[in-house]
Symmetry: C2
Subunit: 211 residues, 2 copies
């Protein structure tokens, strides 16, 4: 499956200004996001499963892949298109074995060595960040704000699509795409926006123009 | 598989007085525990996977089942015998579908309605607690210290083996078994003991005598 995503929504209901993730996702899909990741860090697996079923329907209707953060079992149970793994999550090979060759396996990488290791392990795309300093995830200080130049270094080093992530919105997405990212992953820039559809569309336009 | 376990070790390296979980598990197996659960709450999936591989070898050598807390994917990847699910984890049916009919699926239940629902959903055994007030897990106040009588009420209400869990050691295990539990699950009473093997053996003897 093509993983050259221009805009990749990563869900987080706790950053959605009191709105439900399914509503945010529906608006973002209307705004043209190419992929949706069920993240929802900190929420119990059961809640993520119930939410994931709604996201599966929404993404299937939109013809867009659904990726599940971290949990391979949840990805399998939902019939998701793949899983996104951090450096402390299960190894790529284990995920691949559980989900099959057709599954999309993405990996978070903050350095060129991490990126090369993920590519060697069979990752389908890389999430690189945090590009701009952010408090969205528990980002270690040394990888919080690696900048577009790191995205470019990694995109040059591996033969995989790279999405930048971390503090990215319409005002600062262009340098990420210009550095060599296929696209950008966004959390708050869409989930917390007054108009998530318009925000997603605006970011997409910036990325399209910059590439 | 028989799930009438007298003593069930639940691992937690953070409560193991600086010793590694694999060493604690090996000692507890020598002391006669009937099952081992890989819990290790708060540790990343990758670390639990690496530890789980060692526990898989140790439990297989001892002819004792290995159960993985919460993560169905980790259980599958390790070739564990089953999974233990809390009320906020994935549903029993989802775990069963991923792991197959032969897998052991245990469920935490603190009330008779929860126990009945788990039995209806196809659980193989129940973990009931916290029997005695404990700070081992994030136990809601209303279920922290339900007492041996609740274990008895649940054992009477469902046709499944019940293990008591929560604050149990050799000094207070007898009332749990007398109330109708098949056995007891233990964390700190073994993991933090000066001699985990002796602690496991002592608890087993108390349960055997009380039944």
């Amino acid at each position: 499956m093509n993983t050259e995503w221009r805009t990749y929504l990563v869900t987080q209901e706790s950053r959605s200004a009191g709105r439900e993730t399914a509503a945010i996702a529906e608006a973002a899909l209307a705004g043209g996001v190419d992929a949706v990741q069920l993240r929802e860090k900190g929420r119990p697996a059961r809640e993520r499963y119930e939410l994931g079923r709604r996201l599966r329907d929404l993404t299937a209707d939109a013809g867009v892949p659904l990726i599940v953060n971290d949990r391979v079992d949840l990805a399998a149970a939902l019939g998701a298109d793949g899983v996104h793994l951090g450096q402390s999550d299960l190894p790529v090979g284990v995920a691949r074995e559980r989900l099959g060759d057709e599954a999309i396996v993405g990996v978070s990488a903050s350095t060129v060595p991490e990126a090369r290791a993920a590519a060697d392990a069979g990752a389908d795309y890389l999430g690189v960040g945090a590009v701009y300093a952010t408090d969205t995830k528990d980002v270690p200080a040394e990888t919080n704000g690696v900048g577009p130049e790191r995205v470019g270094a990694i995109a040059d080093a591996v033969d995989l699509p790279v999405v930048g992530i971390g503090g990215i919105d319409a005002t600062n997405a262009a340098p990420v795409a210009e550095a060599g990212a296929a696209g950008v992953a966004v959390v708050s820039a869409v989930t917390a926006a007054d108009d998530p559809r318009a925000a997603a569309a605006a970011i997409r336009e910036v990325v399209d123009d910059a590439r």
